[in-house]
Amino acid sequence: MEIKYTIQGLLVYMTIAAYLLAFVTTILRRQKVGHIIYLIGFAIAVCSFGYRWYHVRHVPLQNLFEVFLCLGMIYPVSLFCRRALRVGGYAADMLIGAIVLFPAGFVFNAQPQQLPPALQCWLFTPHVAVYMFSYIFMAKATFQAICQLAGRNPKPGENLLGPEESTYRIICIGFPLLTLGLILGSYWGKLAWGDYWGWDPKELWSLVSWLVFLGYFHFRYMFGKKHSRINSLWAIAGMAAIIITLLWVNLSRLFPGLHSYAT
């Protein structure tokens, strides 16, 4: 664990502080103030990402530090979920934002790196970006699945969907992104390494994530809301696979592979 005494570090810490403050304010029923602080936190997160972009002179999605910096810009996803999907968990999003920025602020190395030849491809940004979006959606879906298991429903009058329906709706948004990320990665693998599928641990774990959500759709189609707790467990299992894909594969020596530059 290290503290970053840099402008970049300062921006990350300010975002974490704003998100935590927004969370506390919201659960103390000062929703409007919480929303404004959340918005300020998002603005700082964008500045932080932009600063990094300017500093490294390429889209900052190369390593775990940069990827978590990107994940910290969660606000548009929460807004979209609330306005377009009628899904709650607004306060939880603030906490998710702070949690994903924590490793960027205290764990991962922020040393700027130049892009190795394999990453100099037009597919670099879309492949990583769609994955990041899908991961944020799936994290939100997991929160709803946990709420469903815990029996927490939105209060009457909030005009929000129940947690089971919310989980399904968010997964419906995240799954096409997950599919697109997998396919763009495969296409890029063909261009860079000669094979669209190299059986690399990261590739296999990303396939596992996709398959778990595919299983979720099939199971839900078969039983509907009859076994809603099992539906939620599928969603949580999918998120577990995503965490392994994103973190464990890159940080553990158990899975050496072609994606090791992402550490």
């Binding site: 059986w199 641990p201 774990w205 899975f255």
Partner: protein, 335 residues
């Protein structure tokens, strides 16, 4: 549906197992005959599902997704080593699935060392390597100062010329060394690139004064000032100790059996050459002397079927989970 769910769970478990055994063993594992039975069963079940469940035929998104998965499986199996073996037996198509070829600069080659077995095969055409080079993020510079105090700095690359003025003539970089060494034989010294581990970056600079008698000087990055001659220009080779590689480039020509050049391409990482049913990738190089490049050769059999499957899967998922809902909302709003 239960069978579909079971096959999804089986593939999930197999993928987790594959992730723990490493890419090379996983590739062998997923390509073994037992797994070929699984892949075939999966493809057959998908086709049977499309035929049996009317909903899959009626709902375009679901049809695209399932048919896309069938194409990915069929294309993948057709392009695998097993698929190539079947094509050879049934249709007499003898194509290399994957292999590697090393080509020296200014020479052509058509032999491919096959992956996984100690065997070589010939391509029906040759590849000629005109040049192999590595590009770096950080440029290196040659700084040159003439006796009258005129200082110039240029990017150091072979062929770069510097005009030193009417009094001093011109300078030209004629060679770059990563690990400079010098041998002496019969009193004659020869500079050469030492392929053994070590670092002694140097430039060979030819200075041609107006009188016409050209002399070659060596400039060393690690030993600035070494080799300066009385009254001659002072030269500094400005090169950082570590330089990040930005690209590997092989300049290739494809030559047919009659000796005609039929294609040209500078291949780089992410920019392979596609010719005659094969893709050629920059794979490795001579890291000691930079005299040859190593290309990976991969057959394109089944590739476009897989890509068609990708398109269908993507369109199907996006249509089914996003677009049809958006369109139906628009319709509901307008009515």
């Amino acid at each position: 549906m239960w069978l579909a769910l079971v096959l999804i769970i089986v593939l999930t478990v197999l993928s987790i197992y594959g992730a723990f055994i490493g890419a090379e063993r996983a590739q062998q594992f997923f390509n073994q005959p037992t797994l070929a039975v699984y892949w075939t069963a999966l493809a057959v079940l998908l086709i049977a599902g499309i035929a049996a469940f009317r909903r899959l035929l009626r709902v375009p998104g679901l049809l695209l997704m399932h048919a896309g998965c069938v194409l990915i499986l069929v294309g993948g199996m057709w392009g695998s080593q097993g698929g190539h073996n079947i094509q050879k037996k049934l249709f007499g198509i003898d194509k290399i699935r994957s292999g590697r070829m090393a080509i020296y600069e200014n020479s052509s080659e058509n032999h491919v060392a096959l992956d996984g077995i100690r065997e070589q095969k010939e391509l029906p055409f040759s590849l000629k390597l005109n040049d192999f080079r590595i590009e770096y993020y950080q440029p290196v510079y040659l700084q040159i100062e003439t006796a009258d105090g005129n200082v110039q700095q240029v990017i150091a690359e072979v062929g770069r010329q510097i005009d030193l003025g009417a009094e001093h003539g011109k300078a030209e970089i004629v060679r770059m060394f990563e690990n400079f060494k010098m041998s002496i034989q019969d009193g004659k010294t020869t500079a050469y690139e030492d392929p053994s581990p070590g670092l002694n970056p140097a430039l060979a600079v030819r200075i041609t004064p107006p009188s016409g008698e050209a002399t070659t000087h060596h400039v060393f990055s690690l030993h600035p000032g070494f080799g300066h001659t009385q009254g001659g220009p002072k030269m500094i080779y400005d090169r950082p100790a570590y330089r990040a590689i930005s690209d590997y480039i092989s300049e290739l020509e494809v030559i047919d059996r009659e000796g005609n050049i039929v294609a040209k391409k500078d291949i780089e990482v992410n920019h392979p050459l596609h010719y005659g049913g094969y893709h050629f990738y920059q794979s490795s190089y001579d890291d000691k002397a930079g005299q040859y490049t190593v290309l990976q050769v991969v057959s394109d059999t089944g590739l476009y079927v897989v890509y068609a499957g990708y398109w269908m899967l993507c369109l199907g998922v996006i249509w089914h989970l996003w677009l049809r809902h958006i369109f139906s909302r628009f319709k509901a709003k307008n009515t």
